[in-house]
Subunit: 219 residues, 2 copies
């Protein structure tokens, strides 16, 4: 390795493996250090690669970060598209979606911070592109979901944009807590038990929260 010429002549499988390794290394460093600020040289070092190769595959650091976001959300966005197309009731779709969102943040606890950081620090044109590819599908999902739930009589009418912020915030906060869990609650890590309790709690809170008829005053 080491020069562009050499890179170009390596077999296709080896080249795509290097690209994938660079993304994996970035993801692992962000998880270990609990921050989205990691240097290109640390990333290259961990992938046993070099900064020139990062630039070869991704153009620059922003290109790498955007590719990581797209890698991380790909499965979730496909899942959303499958979910909205099923004929399940809106409440069931909502439960699936919230538990899916939590599983995504559990796997990639830096993801929400990374999306926000890249959108904030990019030019408005690049921001808009990322936002539309990555967040657009969730926004459209909420629009379709709430319309369906209201039509079925199970959901209150809710502004989809506001529901987007509530759901993402409620799901993400445990994962972008930055030491709160340890400092306030003396919890060292988000283990499997806590993960399951948070999923059950958040699904119950948010789905009950959107229901058309609160129990209040009904008995």
């Amino acid at each position: 390795m080491g020069t562009m010429a050499k890179m170009d002549h390596r077999p296709e499988t080896s080249r795509s493996r290097t690209r994938a390794d660079l993304l994996t290394s970035t993801s692992e460093l962000m998880i270990e250090r609990d921050t989205v600020d990691v240097s290109l040289s640390d990333i290259a070092g961990r992938a046993r690669s070099n900064v020139a190769l990062v630039k070869y595959y991704f153009g620059n650091k922003d290109g790498l970060l955007i590719a990581l976001i797209e890698r991380d959300v790909a499965g979730a966005i496909e899942g959303l598209e499958r979910l909205i197309a099923t004929d399940a009731p809106a409440l069931v779709k909502m439960e699936h979606h919230i538990s899916g969102l939590l599983r995504t943040y559990h796997r990639f606890p830096y993801l929400n911070r990374l999306v926000r950081s890249v959108i904030r620090n990019s030019s408005s044109e690049v921001s808009r592109g990322i936002a539309q590819r990555v967040i657009g599908p969730i926004g459209q999902f909420y629009e379709a979901l709430i319309a369906q739930g209201v039509a079925e009589g199970t959901f209150r009418p809710i502004e989809p944009m506001l529901m987007y912020f509530s759901a993402v915030g409620a799901c993400d906060q445990l994962y972008s807590g930055g030491g709160i869990l340890k400092a306030v609650y003396d919890v060292d890590e988000i283990d499997d038990g806590l993960r399951r309790r948070y999923i059950a709690h958040t699904v119950a809170l948010l789905t009950q929260g959107v229901l058309a008829r609160p129990a209040l005053g009904s008995d």
Copy 2:
């Protein structure tokens, strides 16, 4: 100004005004730039002061950031303590608390990110101290509130720690959105109308979400 000796000899009112101006300047810069990363020299410049004075009043940058957090949460923590001591039903306390939390984030949109950043970047002893002073009271509030609501029969039994993360995340996300509002929803700023809709929406979502008896299947 300029030397420690001169600072010490200025009248008390003028000295505390300088201290307050430094905090105000830090807060304003964080709001304008939508980030908690602001340099001491920018802060001093805006306050028409200098870095030596920052060190005189706060010891170092962490000292300034901790003082800003304590300034920003002081009113909210007093409010919480008054609220928990009243004899209002738990559901009413919850509504007051959620709208108060949203008003705090509206005034200081960087606050949640700043608390997390300071806790993450400080030694574990300093972290624990800040966490206990700043987040401890909210944690205790949720414990008392949920116990009261369950005793009154209006709340489901909910783990207070999980409710803390849900509520803070749902309230904060609009404010730490970092350009999402513009890039996805083409909304330029959180004006008074959006602020009010977000309060009404979040209060309804979270209070309905904790109710003991969901309407589901009841009619």
